[in-house]
Homo-oligomer: 280 residues x 2
């Protein structure tokens, strides 16, 4: 029998409850039986320091420890929330050769680390569901999709469009905006760039897209696809355009191809998008 996959979980942003870790482990055992992965939640996932799952040193050390540990096959980010950008540069500078051999899976705020890893040549950087998605109604499907990708590279976990594109990258739109011009921004030339968002006023998406589509790097992409934009707050006045019209507007202004919708978002239907070229 092949040894089971070992997945290390860390929380670069905000914390989770220990009960969620137990639930994820039990679900993985029930769902995958003899192929169930061993999922080890770093105690840092449950730490707390103000907004964060432990202070910067605690979060950075946990990520570096697990990323550098050759016994782990994958690093799974427990949740987003905010905080990865505070530790990413220093953490990436401490990674060793073993860190390059594993898969990194997350989304939302985790994009700061995913982008930084991909920009540094890591070959298995993946945008997709994370443990906290279990707390959504119907979250089991999202978590199973993520685990099926980690265990089997299951094609049915994939965002369908990525199978037909050369190179892809996926981000939360607002997180991606904040990475522009920083050392975490990867070269996206020739990529299809998939962007999703949650909880942002449309005027904020519009402003973020001004910056995003002004970027020479982004102007070199093959095109932009728009994932789901959910939980948009009502402003005091209607914006006058929906999220797709906003993306079309800025893409047209900047001469970037708009390639339609993508099947990603802050929801249980969020599909898996491996960064770069799909490895068969």
């Amino acid at each position: 029998m092949a040894p089971s996959l070992r997945i290390g979980v860390v929380a670069p942003g905000t914390r989770i409850e220990p009960a969620l870790a137990d639930r994820i482990k039990a679900f993985a055992t029930d769902s995958f039986l003899d192929r169930a992965p061993e999922i080890i939640f770093h105690p840092q996932c449950f730490a707390s320091a103000g907004h964060f799952a432990g202070d910067d040193d605690t979060r950075r050390n946990a990520f570096v420890e697990y990323a550098n540990d050759p016994s782990f096959d994958a690093i799974w980010f427990a949740r987003g929330g905010y905080g990865a950008c505070r530790i990413a540069e220093a953490a990436l500078a401490q990674l060793n050769g073993a860190s390059r051999l594993k898969t990194y899976l997350g989304y939302s705020d985790n994009g700061a680390l995913l982008g930084g890893l991909y920009g540094r040549g890591y070959e298995n950087v993946v945008h997709g569901p994370i443990p906290v998605d279990m707390t959504r109604a119907g979250g089991e499907g999202a978590v199973k999709r993520a685990l099926s990708w980690l265990i089997d590279r299951a094609p049915e976990s994939l965002e369908l469009g990525v199978m037909f594109e050369g190179k892809n990258a996926a981000f939360n739109l607002t997180v991606f905006q904040s990475m522009l011009g920083t050392s975490l921004e990867p070269d996206l030339s020739g990529h299809v760039l998939l962007l999703e968002d949650v909880g942002e006023y449309l005027y904020r998406l519009d402003r973020a897209l001004f910056q995003i589509t002004s970027s020479a790097n982004v102007r070199g992409v093959k095109g932009i696809k728009l994932g789901r934009v959910s939980d948009t707050p009502e402003n005091d006045k209607p914006f006058g355009a929906n999220e797709e019209e906003i993306v079309r507007y800025w893409c047209a202004k900047a001469g970037i191809a708009y390639l339609g919708r993508a099947d990603i978002g802050h929801d249980v239907e969020n599909k898996v998008v491996p960064f770069g070229a799909l490895k068969r």
Copy 2:
């Protein structure tokens, strides 16, 4: 008798009510008597198209018309709100020689235009109160401060610190973030950079400062001063640091001098900050 100053008002972002224009004109007459400026509100200020004070063409044309009109001594932005970045690049490309001879006064969302003008060598670009500030309790003081600067270059209108610095620039922190890497970002080497904000969660300020302090341009400033950060919403968990601690954190990480507080903000105490070197 010297001819009175002529001030043209346009709204690059959101609209104002005609009653506010009347109130501003009456206040200027009462306050400055025979030295009262002539304040002409472009009809575009009252236009409406979704979120904006008229569509992009309407707003851009109004700004360009008044900026290029040699009969105006100053352009005053009616309010912020959001929208300047949508028209700034195209508008700036249409400006003539007469536009360079006048003063531009605004703040908040207007920063996109102020930054673009300053970056293109305009000599009288000013961060300070605008007509909509009249709607705040005690707003007369803010409006009078702005007009006193336009009419008399009154030293008492100034943010005190700028009198002792070589070069200054002031922005809303979130608006400034969105300008990084775009054609609206001016060269700030050697400047004191004054930043203020309103209505942002602390984690958003933190994330914006990650991007701001990662910028090579910003790393070339003399230092950063922090204006007031007001109306910060409560998050589901306390951030664990206040706004000044956040700025100190990122400045320290990036090797940027933190120079203390600045007397600017989204309030009636907002003082005037001319961009660049103070002209005596």
